[in-house]
């Protein structure tokens, strides 16, 4: 037995002796690579990154290999996966809603007028009748012509009230008109929708008057239904090359009326509060 082991050892040593130069080369190369690994240079970072990528590629090939999991456990895992996916979607939705509602609560707390929060039950995207159906009606003291706002600016006005719900005409309705003014110069004009989503026209400013891109448009004191100084939008295009006396002014609305889900109905119609200086800042600070 011992003799045989000795024979194997001698044979092994002989093999080592014959191939010694290859073994030594391999050992030195391995030692060099080991030393290279100890560096923190960008070259090594690059190599490590590519090695990780190659590992990912190789692991993708592994997917093609036959799966040794039992059919029952695979089915079980798939069901669990679907369940987790559903739960994840619900949590994600709740998280986003949480962020949105927190902002709205903050806005409501510091807003000087009494407001009724309302959820959008339905949107009717017909350009001839652009309205929202809200989940607040007489039961929450909502009245005709109450202003509807978001934390960023004007959204529309109530045109129909029922016991549990009401209908809001959006500012992007074809029939919508409102008196408005430019914040910087106090020039008056009329707001109307011109057919593009989240965009409006500001009509009635004579061509030689001062209007600049970036001017903020607010509701005016002349308006019959709207409280003054509620921001509507910002001027992004001015065109004097149109026939007639007036400029062609276009603005982008502050409220995104395509994705609107929660609004505030202004239940307090005190014009004196809205006319105070700095009222519009309640909205404009949310845009920053």
């Amino acid at each position: 037995m011992l003799w045989q082991l000795k024979k194997y050892a001698v044979g092994f040593m002989e093999i080592l002796h014959i191939y010694r130069q290859y073994i030594i080369l391999l050992s030195l190369v391995v030692a060099s690579i080991f030393l290279l690994q100890t560096n923190a240079n960008p070259q090594l970072t690059y190599i490590r990154r590519h090695l990780l990528f190659m590992t990912a590629v190789v692991s993708r090939f592994q997917v093609w290999l036959p799966e040794y999991e039992s059919a029952a456990s695979v089915k079980n895992l798939k069901e669990r996966n679907i369940e987790l996916f559903k739960r994840n979607t619900v949590l994600e939705e709740a998280y986003l809603e949480n962020i949105r509602l927190r902002k709205l609560i903050q806005f409501r707390d510091r807003f000087p007028l009494r407001t009724v929060p309302a959820h959008v039950l339905n949107k009717i995207p017909n350009p001839r009748l652009s309205v929202l159906i809200l989940d607040a009606g007489y039961n929450k003291n909502v009245r005709m012509h109450d202003n509807v706002i978001t934390d960023r600016g004007l959204a529309g006005k109530i045109i129909e009230v029922h016991e549990n719900h009401s209908i809001c005409e959006l500012i992007t309705d074809e029939m919508f008109r409102a008196a408005a003014k430019i914040q910087r110069t106090r020039l008056d004009g009329i707001l109307r929708w011109e057919g593009r989503p989240n965009e409006m026209g500001f009509y009635g400013v004579i061509k030689n008057l001062d209007v600049r891109i970036g001017d903020v448009i607010l509701t005016s004191e002349y308006s019959e239904y709207f409280l003054p100084n509620i921001p509507v939008g910002v001027v992004y295009e001015i065109n004097n090359e149109v026939p007639g006396l007036f400029k062609d002014i276009r603005l982008k609305t502050f409220s995104d009326l395509n994705t609107i889900e929660e609004v505030f109905i202004v239940a307090d119609t005190s014009r004196s509060v809205a006319a105070r200086s700095g009222f519009e800042e309640q909205f404009l600070r949310n845009l920053k």
């Binding site: 010694r20 130069q21 030594i24 080369l25 030195l28 190369v29 030692a31 060099s32 690579i33 080991f34 030393l35 290279l36 690994q37 100890t38 560096n39 240079n41 960008p42 070259q43 090594l44 970072t45 690059y46 190599i47 990154r49």
Partner: protein
Amino acid sequence: MGIVIRKRWKLLWFAGALGAGYFIQYNFVLPFLSIGHWLPDCQLILTVYIGYRYGAVAGSFFGFFSGLMQDVIIDFYGLYALSKTLAGYTASYTASRHVLLIERIYLPVVVAALAMFHDGIYYGIYVLGVPMSWRTMMVTYALPNAIYSGIIMFLLLMLIPKRLLAHMPASE
């Protein structure tokens, strides 16, 4: 037992001589040999010579340890060690009895060729992840340095007496 102790001493002598030789050539010889940014690679010349004369094992070992000393200078451990190990190993395969009479011409060519091989590996790793081109580095630095190393090898061989050169390479 005596043989083992003698071998250990031999190894210590080898390491000491290598370190001292490297220190001397890095501080006193290289500054006089540089032409612009071109420099001969003295370690590589010695590695190739040892690989050529004494075989793959000696060439690989010498290449590894002399490369390691250069790695200390550039603070990139393993880079010169790897390229010089491979150069020292490859040098042993260039030895041939058919070139004995033209060794003074042949060996510098081998040095230049292996310098290109060595720098090819060196810059191949060195340019990874940094905004440098391997081809530019090879043309700007590796090629002139390889030619310069070959010339230095030729001059060294001219200084060595012919009778010392006229013996068989180890791998033959």
